[in-house]
Amino acid sequence: MSIEIRLPTALRAFADKQERISVDAKDVGDALERLFIRHERLRQQLMAPDGKLRLFVNIYVNDDDARDRQGLSTPIKDGDTILIVPAIAGGSTVAEQGLTKAELVRYDRHLIMPEVGPEGQKKLKNASVLCVGAGGLGSPLALYLAAAGVGRIGIIDFDVVDESNLQRQIIHDTASIGTSKLASAKKRLLALNPYISVETHEARLTSANAVELFKKYDVIADGTDNFATRYLVNDACVLTGRPNAYGSIFRFEGQLAVFGLKDGPCYRCLYPEPPPPGLVPSCSEAGVLGVLPGVIGTMQAIEALKLILGIGRPLSGRLMLYDALEQSWRTLNVKKKPACPVCSENPTIKAPIDYEAFCGLKEKPMSTIPEISVQDLKAKLDKKEIFVLVDVREPHEYEIAKIAGSTLIPLGKLPERFAELDKSAKLIVHCKMGGRSAKAVQLLREKGYDATNVTGGITAWSEQIDPSVPQY
């Protein structure tokens, strides 16, 4: 008995692109079996391992659903048509999660505000924020997001807790020194709020992983301390359409903004290019007031919550500058740049680039400049060799610790103070660790000075030569 089987578009590729296939069979199951003998790949598509039809497969005999008749045993006769029709269905993972009784109690102070209310709290519960860094800014940020009930908090970091972190990184504690920052942060967040989930990503954020990672979150909060990662976070946010609740800190000052909203500017609209490497010292070099990240990180948490709740006016198109010494906030307007390489209509950057190269971090002048060890320096001093010892740290660092007989010229001031140095003199340059002094040596050599760098800086001096010099 010849009957015709009709395949839907989706399955024809498994049957040599045929739409209609004729077979001789007595019932539906028999017809399918004959179809599979000819086109084996169809079997896996239509039949579950238990031999039953897969859930999404509907079989019609002429116009009747085979399920309403006898299923696979439905008899067929010459001239019948078997129609295979996919039941197209699906849906999101879970319905938006509602609030449990315990959560209603916990979030009471949110729930009684109409701007948040149960609807807003549900938005928080169903939202996700990625904190880039579990350091000074990431600490208050993640803690407040967790407390506020943001349902899924991601953290990316690769560091371990160091004792010198604890002056400001309050998500960690003394017992966690030497352990992974992620493990320490996760433990603390879940202790604060067990109703949320914390996802940890033990990795360095790179051009290769940023986009895929950002796609999994609704809001990104940048709490990084270096320009390469900051530009990467910015670009990846624009590329994935994720808003960036940005904060940064330096000594007594902080910056705050929301970048990457559709109509708003991005970080590159504000700063198209990073500063020359070495000119802006990091927190470990320049220091930071311990409470400062508490102020800025908390403000980032506020912006993240506003973005999720859709309330208020996001800090987009504005840059806020905080000065702890003056106890003042200033707001600058920032415009979206029509020619921005990332967020304009015709971007030139369509994928993350090599940020180390972009920020000039790949040039390693250190390897091409002359260097001496602290032992060599000690020997030269003992032999009373004639040279000028230049210290390129900041004045407050000089006050904490210095090597006797050195001349202080902070790196940032060097270009305007070349004249103070004698071109015929031999210069030996140091800083705290050897990084800034390497830059200084390069600058000096470009100007024709005979300059040499001290490897390891005053820290190595304190460790290996003179322990009476304090380390900081």
Binding site: R6, P8, T9, A10, L11, R12, A13, F14, K17, E19, R41, Q44, Q45, L55, F56, N58, Y60, D65, L83, V85, P86, A87, I88, A89, G90, G91, S92, T93, V94, A95, E96, K123, N126, K215, K216, D218, G241, G310
Partner: protein, 150 residues
């Protein structure tokens, strides 16, 4: 691997998704049936988005969609022999991200593009396209190209 759309197709799908909010919106993506439709990474060109009612019962429309097989059969019959076919489906995920759920995977057909649109508070905020592997174990994301055909 790619799903190629034009502005009209995008508009129709996005509008359907936004209008359906807070329920899921859905529809068919129609275009020429490509050679090697079953190859992972094939390109699919869509020249028509056809919105359809969400046939799931009212209790779960906020996280489920269903396209009535009778309508599906009718469209297949209409396109029969034309070289065009149902090459994919679009549906929305109210509030949650445009990543296929385990249920999406369980119900997915091979070959086709599954275009998922995330709608947050009534606005389409993200969309991603996916092709199921032949073994049915996973989805692979495919790139969405908007504009003319290549």
């Amino acid at each position: 691997m790619s799903l190629r759309l034009n502005r009209a197709v995008e508009q129709i799908a996005m509008n359907t998704a936004e209008k359906a909010f807070p329920e899921e919106g859905c529809g068919l993506l129609i275009g020429p049936v490509p050679d090697g439709f079953d190859v992972m990474g094939r390109a699919v060109e869509v020249d028509e988005a056809r919105p359809l009612p969400n046939g799931w019962d009212a209790s779960a429309k906020t996280n489920r969609y269903l396209i009535d097989p009778k309508i599906m059969a009718r469209v297949e019959a209409e396109l029969s022999g034309t070289g065009r076919g149902v090459v994919g489906f679009f549906h929305s995920h109210p509030q949650v991200p445009a990543w296929p759920s385990p249920f999406d995977l369980m119900m997915a057909m091979p070959c086709c593009s599954y275009w998922i649109i995330q709608v947050r508070d009534g606005k389409a905020v993200d969309s991603r396209a996916w092709q199921r592997t032949e073994d049915g174990r996973s989805f692979v994301e495919e790139e969405i190209f908007l504009g003319g055909y290549i």
